[in-house]
Amino acid sequence: MAHLLDVENLQTEFHTSEGVVKAVNGISYTLEEGGILGIVGESGSGKSVSVLSLLKLLPQPPALIKDGAATFDGRDLLAMTDKEIRAVRGNEIAIIFQDPMTSLNPIMKIGKQIGEALELHMGMNESDARQRTIELLNHVGIPMAEQRIDQYPHQLSGGMRQRVMIALGLSCNPRLLIADEPTTALDVTIQAQIIALVRGLQEETGMAVIWITHDLGVIAGLADQVIVMYSGYVVEYAAVDDLFENPRHPYTLGLLSSLPEMGDDETEELQTIRGTPPDLINLPPGCPFAPRCDYVIERCLAENPPLTTVQNPADPGVEGQTAHLAACWVNVDTGQAR
């Protein structure tokens, strides 16, 4: 399969009055046509910024894409002019945002908002766009789409609005759908519905999906590949099963052990990762995770480990399996330097 998206050494900074915030520090990943990539990380790890950079959706200044290339279908997104990138946005790459409460224009009927994209990219006239909008709303599971189309966002519930956002994202049959924490603002039952919906639509249309979340549980049931981000670095990059069975980075380990498990002893305290993420203006010289890491060795404080292929003793070299990459000086099984 061909690479649909090839991100190489993406670096994004924010120039603020306090200093330069290094939000994304040279991340690289590839996404196959029809693949689902999960990006996991806590707040401020650069996961949203990294995808917003791809579509040049960050206000520049203060944001600055310092370096990198993002080849989408043979074209470098980062080198595109405003006009070229506008033709890609919403059309070939669609994005769904976190908060469906605020992502819809409160004083525009939802049909008009979806129609806008259709008229813009597909050159549809108003009645065709309306017809297609009703189809889309039906498709994402909104009952009585014919009536809903003339409603305002405040008349819909949160889950409904996220469905509208998904319909909006799908309106122009994108090849890549970026979902930026689309379920974070929803309650758990609706989360499951939305995930199932996106999964079904992905299987049906064959589009690729980048799913950004801080919830490893969501990723487990959805993604093929996972990137774990910390302080703007990719710290681990692996196939989803690999990551859960055999995490190679202490941060990933920490994230996994901080998940509550079904059947856990109720009196047992939930594991946390001690400390807080580093200040992105003054990143420490070594590994950014070192101050919080239980496996820390001297080298960690001096040198930032590169992302390298790690030994995968569980199932070495399975056909089609992508390499398991991690950025750590330590073998987490032995606690010894590699």
């Binding site: 605020t102 992502s103 009952p143 405040h154 008349q155 519930s157 949160g158 519905q193």
Partner: protein, 324 residues
């Protein structure tokens, strides 16, 4: 400024409780029923009618508009008809507001004067509102710092002069006449609209739905009028009403100085200045035009106040809570 009209809502999603947090109303059993929403404008209109001061303002403005539209039908005399047998007539049944030094009927002149006042007001505010709003929105939305700075510093320079003085200076450059008065008043009020529009755009430009529209590939020239302007509209509407009051007053002032409306056209400001000379013997010549100016300025101000509260009920509740 995303005022959400409170309206009964329907929910068919499983997240009924989710939405109820935002709507407060839940029509329990039949969750599938769709309820017709009350439009934003209708809600605003109803709130305005309930607003005690706004209602008075609305009535005055409506009377003013009727006066202006139907002046030929309502006037008992030709406003410019000179009748030397009837100079300085005090208010009588034949001349309810008396006559002036040429024997012209004051009531008729006031009715026709409403036309000029309103026309100058509407056109001047039209100029100020459209140019100012455009500049302010561009200034607020652009990510180019120099463009924002250039526009707003230009506005600051205009703002630095007292409005009426600047209008007089512009009139001096353009020459006398009612058309030039409109341009001058319009220019003077551009900065107010620019500032309000910029502030309103700044408050909504980082909303998620603007980001979402950009993520859909919508170009700026569509985002500005379609997503930003309507959401930034409320303070601008209020300012239109308040500026109409200022513009009417400014026109009266310019005409009072002999710069605006030229004789024999009936302008309230002009009538006031003519009446001033005879104030001790025939006060009605100045009194009635003065009252006309006062009531119309008051009317637009009241209407503006009412609109402000009607368009932003949350702010009003906050203020009331504070005063309590």
């Amino acid at each position: 400024m995303n005022t959400k009209p409170p309206s009964p809502t329907t929910l068919s999603d499983a997240s009924a409780s989710e939405a109820s947090k935002f709507e407060g109303i839940l029509n329990g059993s039949d969750a599938q029923e769709l309820v017709e929403s009350q439009g934003f404008w209708r809600t605003t209109w109803r709130r305005l009618l309930r607003h005690p001061v706004g209602r008075i303002g609305l009535v005055i403005v409506v009377i003013l508009v009727i006066m202006a539209l139907f002046a030929p039908l309502l006037s008992p005399y030709d406003p410019n008809a000179i009748d030397f047998t009837n100079r300085f007539s005090p208010p009588t049944f034949a001349h309810p507001m008396g006559t002036d030094d040429f024997g012209r009927d004051t009531l008729s002149r006031i009715l026709y004067g409403a036309r000029i006042s309103l026309m100058v007001g509407v056109i001047a505010v039209g100029i100020a509102g459209s140019v100012g709003t455009f500049l302010g929105m561009v200034s607020g939305y652009t990510s180019r710092r120099w463009l924002d700075e250039t526009i707003m510093r230009g506005m600051d320079i205009l703002f630095a002069f007292p409005a009426i003085l600047l209008a007089i200076a512009i009139m001096a450059a353009l020459g006398k006449g009612v058309a030039n008065a409109m341009v001058a008043i319009g220019l003077v009020y551009i900065p107010i609209f620019a500032r309000i529009a910029r502030g309103a755009v700044l408050s909504v430009r980082n909303e998620e739905y603007v980001k979402a529209a950009r993520a859909l590939g919508t170009p700026s020239y569509v985002i500005l009028p379609r997503h930003l302007l309507p959401n930034a509209m409320a303070p601008l509407i209020v300012e239109v009403s308040l500026s109409l009051a200022f513009a009417i007053l400014a026109e009266a002032a310019l005409s009072f100085f002999g710069l605006g409306t030229q004789p024999p056209d009936p302008s309230w400001g002009r009538m006031l200045s003519e009446g001033r000379a005879y104030f001790q013997q025939s006060f009605w010549m100045a009194l009635f035009p003065g009252l006309a100016i006062m009531f119309s300025v008051m009317g637009f101000n009241f209407l503006g106040d009412g609109l402000r509260d009607a368009l932003d009920p949350k702010m009003k509740q906050v203020l009331e809570a504070k005063n309590r």
